[in-house]
C-alpha cells in the first residue's frame, strides 16, 4: 500500500514548467529512489510534498489524508521529514540545540515560553540519535564549525528526532567521500529495517541502484519510468533522457 502518493502534480515558475502532471507512489516500508537529469523537477517535487512550494494542480496524499497545500510545519507534524540538497542547519546553535529545535512539534507555541529548552529525556534521545549517525562527540560544538559531511549527518539526525514515518532525502551522498557515503547508506538500511520509508533523490547511480527497491526516473517535470533498479537500468528511455542521444548511441551505452 502506498504511504505517500503524488498524483498529477503540476507547478510552473514563471514560464518554466518545473512539474508537469507528475505522479509517484511510495510503498510503505520501501526505499524509493528518484533520479533524473538536472532540472527535471526532483527537488520541486520534494518541495511540493513537504509544503515549501504549492502545487498549481494535482494532489499529495499521505496514507489516507490529503496533505496538498499544508504548511511545512504541518507536513512535518504528520510524520514526513526531509533534508535539503545544500544542507541547512542552524549554524549559530550548538549541535545538540539543533537537535532540540526539532523535538517541539507536539506542543503549543505558547507553552514553549514557560518550558525550559529541553527535558533530560529529550537530551538523551537527541544524544542517542547523534550517536546513531556517529557525531555524538560533537554535541557541544557550534554547528557552523561542522564539516560538510558532518552537516549531512546532523541533518539526517535531526529529521529523525520527531520520529517521522517517511523521510525524504535530497542528495544524501552529494559531495561527501566514499566512506561517508557507505555510512549513510548503512544508516538508511538500518532505519528502513525499523520500518521507516524513504524517498531519495540522488545522482550517484551506484548508491541509488544498490539501495533502492524501486526507482522512478523524472524527465522534464514528469515521471518517465518506474520500476526496480534493473528494469530502470535497461529501459532505453532512461538513457535517452540522460544522454539525449539517438538509438545508436543508446545501444552502445547499454552494451557497455
Amino acid at each position: 500500500m502506498a504511504i505517500l502518493s503524488v498524483s498529477g502534480v503540476s507547478r510552473a515558475f514563471g514560464g518554466v514548467q518545473a512539474l508537469q502532471g507528475c505522479s509517484l507512489e511510495v510503498a510503505e516500508g520501501s526505499i524509493a529512489g528518484l533520479i533524473g537529469p538536472n532540472g527535471s523537477g526532483k527537488t520541486t517535487l520534494f518541495n511540493v510534498v513537504t509544503g515549501y512550494v504549492q502545487a498549481d494542480q494535482g494532489a499529495v496524499r499521505f496514507r489516507d489524508e490529503d496533505i496538498t497545500g499544508l504548511k511545512p510545519n504541518q507536513v512535518f507534524a504528520r510524520g514526513i521529514g526531509r533534508t535539503f540538497q545544500l544542507t541547512r542547519i542552524f549554524e549559530r546553535l550548538s549541535v545538540l540545540e539543533n537537535m532540540l529545535v526539532a523535538t517541539q512539534r507536539r506542543e503549543g507555541w505558547l507553552r514553549g515560553l514557560t518550558r525550559s529548552k529541553s527535558s533530560p529525556e529529550e537530551v538523551a534521545t537527541a544524544l542517542e540519535l547523534l550517536d546513531f549517525v556517529g557525531i555524538a562527540g560533537l554535541a557541544e560544538l557550534q554547528a557552523g564549525a561542522l564539516s560538510y559531511g558532518q552537516r549531512k549527518l546532523l541533518e539526517l539526525a535531526y529529521v529523525l528526532v520527531a520520529d517521522p514515518q517517511v523521510i525524504l532525502l535530497d542528495e544524501p551522498a552529494g559531495g561527501v567521500n566514499l566512506t561517508l557515503i557507505n555510512r549513510i547508506a548503512e544508516k538508511i538500511r538500518a532505519l528502513n529495517a525499523q520500518g521507516k520509508t524513504f524517498l531519495i533523490v540522488e545522482h550517484n547511480m551506484e548508491f541509488v541502484m544498490s539501495l533502492c527497491d524501486r526507482v522512478t526516473v523524472m524527465h522534464q517535470g514528469c515521471n518517465l519510468v518506474s520500476g526496480t533498479p534493473d528494469e530502470v537500468r535497461r529501459d532505453p528511455r532512461v538513457l535517452d533522457a540522460y544522454l539525449g542521444g539517438g538509438d545508436d548511441e543508446l545501444e552502445e551505452v547499454a552494451g557497455g
Binding site: T50, G51, Y52, K71, P72, N73, V75, F76, A77, R82, F84, R88, I89, F90, E91, R92, L93, E97, L100, V101, A102, Q104, R105, W109, L110, G112, L113, T114, R115, S116, K117, S118, Y158, V159, A162
Partner: protein, 334 residues
C-alpha cells in the same frame, strides 16, 4: 569563567543600586534615570530583534504609546500626582503590546531589509498621526499632573523604578533565552524555512516575541512621560529613539544578554553627559559617528562578543602552552 561572569553581573547590579546614594547631585541622578530607561529598552528590543534577527526600527511606536497612556490616563482620570502614577506603566506596556499585534502581523510577513523598511514606514504613520490628531496635544504637547516632590529627592523614586524595569527586562530576556520559545527564535534567526520544516510555528513565535518585547518598551515610555512631566508627539515618537536602541544593542553585542545593557549604559550616559557639559545637544552625534565607525571596524560583533572571544582564546592558548610544556618535559625525561 562562569563564576567570573556571575561576579560581573552582581557587581554591576550593586553599582547601579548604589549610584544615587553615592552621587547625590540631581543632575547626575537624572542622567542615571535616562540611562536606565534606555538600558531596559535596548535589552527588550534585543529580546526580539537580537534573537530572531528581525531588525525592527519602529520601537518608538511602543515608547510613544506607553508615554501617551501615562499622560492621557493620569490627566483624564484626575489622578493624584505621586507614586500611584507608577501603576500606569504596566498598562502602557500592555497597550504597546496590543498595538504591536497588528503591526507585527503586517510587518513580519516579510524578511530582512524589507522588514526594516516596513517597520520604519509604520513608525512614521504613527508619528504623523500623533502630531495631527487633537488628543495628543499636537505640537504643544500634554502636561502631566505636577508631582511636587522635593527637588533633591524627585529623581530617586524614578531611578529605582527604572532600575526595576532594567532587572525585569534582563530577567525576561534570560528566561526567554533558556526556554524552548527562545531556542525557536534563535532557530528562526539562523534559517527560518528550515525551522518551519522542523515543526516550529514560525509566524506565531515571531508575533509573540515581537509583542512581548514591546511590553517593556511601553512601560519605559510611560515612565519617561511621568519623569519629564510634559510630552510632545515628536519627542516620544522619535526616529532617533528607534535607531538609538538598535545601535546600543549592536554596540554591546547583538543577541547577547549583557550587550544591549552595556551599549545603552555607555551611549546614553555619554550622550547625556555631553549635553549637560557642553550644552550643545547635537555635538554627541559627531562623537557617536566616530565611535560606531571604530566599533564596526574593530569589533563588528559588539563589545561583549569581542571580549568573550579574547578571554576564551587566551584560555585556550594557555591550556595549549601548558600541554606543550608538559610534552616537552616528558620528552626530555625519557
Amino acid at each position: 569563567m562562569r563564576l567570573w561572569s556571575r561576579a560581573a553581573w552582581a557587581l554591576g547590579l550593586v553599582a547601579l543600586a548604589l549610584f544615587p546614594v553615592v552621587v547625590t547631585n540631581p543632575a547626575y541622578v537624572a542622567i542615571g534615570v535616562f540611562t536606565l530607561i534606555y538600558m531596559s529598552c535596548a535589552s527588550s528590543w534585543n529580546m526580539f530583534s537580537g534573537y530572531t534577527g528581525y531588525i525592527a526600527l519602529g520601537s518608538a511606536v511602543s515608547y510613544g504609546v506607553g508615554a501617551y497612556t501615562m499622560a492621557l490616563v493620569s490627566i483624564h482620570a484626575n489622578m493624584a500626582p505621586g507614586a500611584s502614577m507608577f501603576w500606569l506603566a504596566p498598562l502602557g506596556g500592555l497597550l504597546a503590546s496590543l498595538v504591536a499585534l497588528p503591526i507585527g502581523a503586517i510587518a513580519l510577513r516579510v524578511r530582512r531589509h524589507t522588514f526594516v523598511v516596513i517597520t520604519i514606514a509604520i513608525f512614521f504613520v504613527f508619528q504623523l498621526t500623533a502630531i495631527n490628531v487633537g488628543f495628543t496635544g499636537s505640537t504643544s504637547g500634554l502636561i502631566l499632573p505636577f508631582i511636587s516632590w522635593n527637588e533633591s529627592y524627585y529623581n530617586v523614586p524614578f531611578y529605582y523604578v527604572a532600575l526595576g524595569l532594567v532587572i525585569f527586562a534582563t530577567a525576561l530576556s534570560a528566561l526567554v533565552r533558556r526556554s524552548r520559545f527562545g531556542l525557536q527564535m534563535l532557530a528562526i534567526r539562523d534559517d527560518e524555512d528550515r525551522a518551519l520544516g522542523l515543526g516550529v510555528r514560525t509566524t506565531a513565535v515571531k508575533l509573540t516575541g515581537f509583542a512581548l518585547a514591546q511590553f517593556t518598551i511601553g512601560m519605559a515610555g510611560a515612565l519617561y512621560a511621568m519623569f519629564v512631566g510634559q510630552i510632545f508627539p515628536q519627542f516620544v515618537f522619535d526616529p532617533l529613539f528607534d535607531v538609538s536602541i538598535a545601535l546600543m544593542a549592536f554596540l554591546g553585542g547583538l543577541g547577547t544578554l549583557a550587550g544591549p545593557l552595556l551599549g545603552a549604559l555607555i551611549l546614553e550616559s555619554f550622550q547625556q553627559w555631553l549635553t549637560l557639559s557642553f550644552s550643545n545637544s547635537s555635538l554627541y552625534l559627531i562623537l557617536f559617528g566616530a565611535l560606531f565607525l571604530l566599533v564596526i571596524l574593530f569589533m563588528p560583533q559588539g563589545i561583549v562578543v569581542f571580549v568573550r572571544d579574547r578571554v576564551t582564546r587566551r584560555a585556550a592558548r594557555e591550556k595549549a602552552a601548558v600541554a606543550a610544556a608538559e610534552t616537552t618535559l616528558a620528552g626530555s625525561r625519557a
